[in-house]
């Protein structure tokens, strides 16, 4: 796979450039806007929910931001990744290129957006009175996992989208539901022990929880927590890769 990417390196670079240019429409406001929108989201949640949850949750701003940051990356990356294969039908029906190249280039763009938001996150953490410990390096784990998880789901969704075009509406609904189910603005401490375990079934919650543990509580999650995340990632990537392999030569009939 690395070899194949090397062979198509020029095309890959041009695709990444294209995705950037189209996303930001060549304006400085375009870049600014994509950084501003998670901040606005944060602001609104902070204003609305501080009354309900803020008093009992320390570092509530950081708490919410850890949620919206990862949620925004997830929903952007999967939502746009879903369109990536179909959107490039004009290319893969004419030249013989590995089809995952389109999803990869889209994800490079969303990932860089995520990194920029991450910088803002750290700045806001300082304002929120967080002191960073050496454990901060452990954040690399959920970041890498989330990138791979997004890629895996992107593979699955973009393949499904070729077959069924209404998947995009379904996925909008699913991401909406996930936002409320991932404890972005509320604390799950008040639920029963069983309910708290149920949250662990939601992969998105794991990434958010990991961030909070490291940044707010300055503790490293258990080894089981790590393994659970790795399992989610492997399942998503495995199913996605299998679908691309199986349908690689069938996509052509559906466009």
């Amino acid at each position: 796979m690395i070899n194949k990417l090397k062979q198509h390196q020029f095309l890959f670079e041009e695709l990444v450039k294209r995705d950037f240019k189209k996303k930001y429409k060549r304006t400085i406001l375009g870049v600014l806007w994509s950084l501003l929108s998670p901040l606005l989201m944060l602001l609104v949640m902070k204003l609305v929910f501080t009354q309900f949850f803020g008093r009992s949750t320390p570092h509530y701003t950081t708490f919410i931001f850890a949620g919206t940051l990862n949620y925004a990356f997830f929903s952007e990356s999967t939502g746009q990744g879903m369109q990536s294969l179909m959107g490039n039908a004009g290319i893969f029906t004419k030249v013989n290129v590995p089809k995952y190249i389109f999803l990869l280039s889209k994800n490079v763009q969303t990932f860089i957006n995520y990194l920029l938001t991450l910088l803002i996150f750290f700045v806001l953490c300082i304002f929120d009175g967080i002191t960073f410990t050496w454990r901060i390096v452990f954040l690399l784990y959920p970041i890498v996992c989330l990138v791979l998880f997004n890629l895996g789901l992107g593979l699955i969704l973009s393949a499904l989208f070729v077959f069924f075009r209404d998947i995009q509406y379904l996925w909008t609904v699913v991401t909406q539901l996930l936002m409320y189910m991932s404890a972005i603005f509320y604390n799950i401490d008040r639920y029963s022990q069983t309910a708290q375990y149920l949250f662990l079934l939601n992969p998105l919650y794991l990434f958010i929880r990991y961030f909070r543990k490291i940044v707010i509580e300055a503790t490293i999650p258990s080894i089981w927590f790590h393994l659970l995340m790795a399992a989610d990632v492997l399942i998503a990537l495995g199913v996605g890769a299998w679908m691309y392999k199986k349908y690689n030569h069938r996509f052509l009939y559906y466009v």
Binding site: F10, F163, R165
Partner: protein, 255 residues
């Protein structure tokens, strides 16, 4: 040494309700037993091989399976049965006019297309000026592609594609584009490419072209291989008689 060899290649094509269908519609149709997918053999038992420098013309009516066969030879499609072997780099110039991105500028589209055709960045940097000059688009380099007229678009497409120097060249009706002066220019360029010694496969509706350019010819009819051989004028004559209604030509024993 054969540069290309197809051994008993058959390609099953799918069509019908599977295109642009939603998950909801799919399920409803499945339940009502109203979901129809037609499978047919676009190509059946195609066997031929080409040597270095051969120029093959493929003839046959619409729906004979020519385009599908080209896709299998270029590796975009996989044959359902049989095998395709290729030696060396392949460039397939199929439906050149489409596949550009209207939002990007002419310059960006030129690089993207170059990347699609397998050029390197260094090559594109060097060739870029020549491409734009040949297409006579000097005043439009930084304009969005969607502002171009369709004539300009096909000029650019041809101009980029005309730089390919592959071992195997696959052409689908792109021998010349534009009108007047540009047509002459592009025809000249095309003759240059054809005389470069690459093994070439050419689909054309002009029997004249096939007769003058090709040293081998393949006749397809409804996916079946009617004739293949070096007797270009003989096979073209039979094909012409067939077009005039002499169906017996389909069953003449080929040499």
């Amino acid at each position: 040494m054969d540069v290309i060899s197809l051994n008993n290649v058959s390609i099953r094509y799918l069509t019908g309700d599977l295109k642009a269908i939603g998950l909801k519609e799919y399920i409803v149709r499945r339940l009502k037993r109203d979901y129809h997918v037609q499978e047919f053999w676009a190509d059946r038992h195609i066997t031929f091989s080409l040597e270095q420098g051969d120029m093959l013309g493929i003839i046959g009516a619409n729906g004979a399976g020519k385009s599908t066969l080209l896709k299998a030879i270029s590796g975009i499609m996989e044959p359902t049965e049989g095998s395709v072997r290729r030696q060396g780099s392949v460039a397939a110039l199929l439906e050149l006019g489409s596949g550009f991105d209207g939002e990007l500028t002419v310059r960006e589209n030129t690089y993207l297309r170059g990347a699609m055709l397998g050029y390197t960045r260094a090559f594109m940097d060097e060739a870029y000026r020549g491409i734009i000059d040949f297409a006579e688009l000097g005043d439009f380099e930084d304009r969005p592609f969607k502002q171009l007229s369709s004539g300009m678009k096909s000029r650019l497409a041809f101009s980029i594609a005309s730089l390919v120097r592959p071992d195997i060249l696959i052409l689908d009706e792109v021998l010349a584009v534009g009108d007047g002066a540009f047509r002459e220019k592009s025809e000249k360029k095309m003759r240059e490419i054809l005389s470069s010694g690459a093994t070439t496969i050419l689909v054309s509706h002009s029997l004249e072209q096939i007769r003058t350019l090709c040293n081998k010819v393949l006749w397809l009819e409804k996916g079946e291989q009617i004739a293949f051989g070096a007797d270009v004028s003989g096979i073209c004559d039979r094909y012409e008689r067939f077009l005039k209604g002499d169906r017996a030509q389909l069953h003449v024993a080929s040499d």
